[in-house]
């Protein structure tokens, strides 16, 4: 299973304000009634962006100055809540290629890593500065480099953080784990023989 290496993401940064940005806000449950992820394109943060009658709330995602952004800047505990992979899938399928935040919820981080959407952390101070900059100059093109773990706007460089395992997986194109998990089937079968399997006794 050949995969793409993910090293650099370039583009505009769009702010998604708020701490504890939960998965219900990222993709409301009513959009989960689908048997493929294809229908999720353009649905990300739907109720954050639109009133019940479809009128735009003026969220930055829909502001012309951020059009075409490829990076989201979020707050603390981004992606908390449900394990629905629909959340990173909706973000990916809406054109976003990376997320920067103070911290990420565990399951969201894993889901994003497994689907090729890097989630990187920066310090609260740096994030505040980046938010100020993109408010003043939304058209700025940024480069997020997973090799150097830096975010740059050509003038200033901000350090980024991410656990080593997913970082390597992105760089080496091994972020989809299924190929590796399939490799040592014998070892899996050996475990299966040792560990009891619940079965109906009555």
């Amino acid at each position: 299973m050949a995969l793409t290496c993910i090293r650099k993401i370039s583009g505009k940064i769009v702010p998604v304000p708020g701490a504890n940005m939960d998965t219900d806000r990222i993709i409301p449950a009513r959009f989960l009634k689908c048997i493929t992820f294809d229908e999720l394109a353009g649905r990300m943060f739907y109720d954050e962006r639109f009133e019940a009658n479809g009128v735009s709330k003026g969220h930055p995602i829909d502001a012309p100055q951020y059009a075409g952004a490829t990076i989201i800047i979020g707050g603390e505990n981004f992606g908390c809540g449900s394990s629905r992979e629909h959340a990173p899938q909706a973000i990916l399928r809406s054109g976003i290629r990376a997320i920067i935040a103070e911290s990420f919820a565990e399951i969201f981080f894993g889901n994003s890593s497994g689907t090729g959407l890097p989630c990187v952390c920066a310090s609260a101070n740096d994030l505040a500065e980046i938010r100020r900059q993109i408010t003043q100059r939304p058209e700025t093109m940024w480069t997020l480099d997973l090799e150097t773990m830096q975010l740059s706007n050509g003038e200033k460089i901000y350090p980024l953080h991410m656990p080593e395992e997913p970082r390597k997986a992105f760089l080496q194109g091994r972020w989809d784990s299924v190929a590796e998990l399939l490799e040592h089937k014998d070892a899996v079968q050996e475990k299966a023989g040792l560990l009891p399997c619940p079965h109906a006794v009555r």
Binding site: E106, L182, K191
Partner: protein, 470 residues
């Protein structure tokens, strides 16, 4: 070094170390439901892979099913399509499906423990964050995404890094009217919705040990709301007694061997923890949320906090946004707030003990006119028990809509939804914006007793003041 249950289970299920540093972890038991599995089965087909161990995956349908009328086809064609997809996938890949007509259907986190499938010392995974629930059985149980569901189906394993372990002790006796739900909300309120990031929570201490299994399941269910992907309780006599005689639990000589094996997974007395925190059970009162994150909670005697007193700018902003959404003022009491809807159910509080505890409170009382009150047993098994014990009848007589098993009003994937800015006294697990179906609906998380008090008084109430027999 002496080990925690988490480490023992992790070690026992480690297949090998992967080149990137993660562990290939064997998954002993896997559950699937209709919302997060169809994409995984589609990926499997695309790769041309079979399900490696179909006997270790169990399926049920819960999120999308209506709870008033489950005759097929459902009024909602998309819901029907999701059920049909799961049926076809289970049939094609040879997976056991607890389907609607079988009598064992229910919310996936109810069904696993109830049937005795979730057992101590196991790794358990499901494409659902509330999989943490099964940790109450003394298991390492975690929610996963659909791509990982595919991984488990294809390889019965996951690529994972271990979590740190925080022991969360609750010592002493819980006061009158204080239940596992209040303990969960109290802990999350103190440690924060992000407090458990990177951790598994081991719930311990005398208050936890004296809790029944249903209470432990409620507590572990909410671990994820505190940011902890796993929550667990060490298996003990209460666990074994609960499992004994359940359809998937071992019997005879196998039972004795299983109990010995299960016991060996308990954390060693001198196990090393990455962090420890202790709570006094006496400090916990009936607790209710006031905001849009489960950590925004107060004891019923407290008032809504003032954002101006919060030093952290981001938290201050979040508090202001929450108060605006909830239409609440700093310094006001929630007690006395008129509510529109009451929901007793969900994988948090849809268990037999929840209904057993509320039924005597409702006897001879009635839901205030104008309030919509829903009681939704979490599984067909629980629904049957409630009928047999006369519990369902008491709820009906009190003016509750007694509905069919499913996730119901916990999330907006079936017809049970809030409308407009309705305020809901809910025993579910999330008070996120729009969670209960109306993008502007408002949720107050609370225990079943407090929800019952809200139903019969029409207001947010201290259940200790409403019910003498609590």
């Amino acid at each position: 070094m002496r080990r925690t249950l988490y480490q023992k289970v992790w070690d026992a299920h480690t297949v090998r170390n992967l080149p990137d540093g993660r562990t290939q972890l064997f998954i002993a038991t896997h559950y699937v439901h209709e919302v997060t599995s169809p994409q995984a089965f589609a990926m499997l087909r695309e790769l041309g892979l079979p399900v490696l161990h179909p006997e270790r995956t169990f399926a049920t349908v819960d999120h999308i099913i209506p709870t008033d009328n489950q005759d097929e086809p459902f009024a909602d064609a998309r819901a029907q399509a999701m059920l049909d997809a799961l049926r076809n996938n289970c049939k094609q890949f040879g997976i056991r499906f607890f389907d609607l007509p079988g009598g064992q259907q229910g919310i996936v986190h109810m069904v696993g423990p109830e049937l005795g499938i979730s057992q101590p010392g196991m790794t358990i995974a499901c494409g659902d964050s509330h999989t943490a629930t099964h940790g109450a059985m003394g298991a390492v149980a975690m929610g996963i995404g659909s791509t990982q569901v595919r991984d488990v189906l294809a390889t019965q394993s996951l690529a994972m890094s271990p979590l740190k372990v925080r022991r969360v002790r609750v010592e002493g006796h819980l006061g009158r009217g204080v239940s596992a739900k209040d303990v969960a909300l109290h802990i999350i309120g103190r440690l924060g919705a992000q407090g458990g990031l990177g951790y598994a929570y081991e719930f311990a201490g005398s208050a936890i040990c004296s809790m029944g299994m249903d209470g432990r399941l409620t507590l572990c269910n909410m671990a994820i709301e505190g940011g902890a992907r796993c929550g667990y309780v060490n298996p003990d006599a209460t666990t074994f007694e609960y499992l004994c005689g359940r359809p998937f639990a071992p019997t005879g000589a196998e039972w004795d061997a299983a109990v010995r094996r299960w016991s060996s997974f308990s954390s060693d007395e001198d196990a090393a923890y990455d962090d420890e925190i202790s709570f006094d059970a006496a400090d916990i009162e009936p607790t209710v949320t006031w905001g849009i994150s489960p950590d925004m909670s107060i004891g019923i005697s407290e008032v809504v906090p003032n954002p101006d007193e919060e030093l952290d700018a981001q938290k201050r902003a979040a508090m202001r946004a929450a108060l605006e959404y909830m239409q609440l003022q700093p310094g006001e009491s929630l007690k006395g707030k008129s509510i529109d809807v009451v929901f007793i159910g969900s994988c948090t509080n849809g268990r037999i003990s929840d209904f057993r505890s509320v039924a005597p409170l409702l006897k001879g009382r009635h839901v205030v006119p104008g309030i919509r009150a829903l009681a939704v047993p979490g599984s067909q098994e629980t629904a049957r028990q409630c009928e047999e014990e006369g519990i369902a009848g008491i709820f009906r007589e009190a003016g509750f809509e007694w509905r069919l098993p499913g996730c119901s009003m916990c999330l907006a994937m079936n017809p049970d939804r809030l409308e407009g800015t309705q305020l809901c006294a809910s025993t579910s697990n999330r008070n996120f914006k729009g969670r209960q179906g109306s993008p502007i609906g408002r949720t107050l998380l609370m225990s079943p007793a407090m929800a019952a008090a809200a139903a019969v008084s029409g207001k947010v109430s201290d259940p200790r003041e409403i019910f003498n027999n609590l």
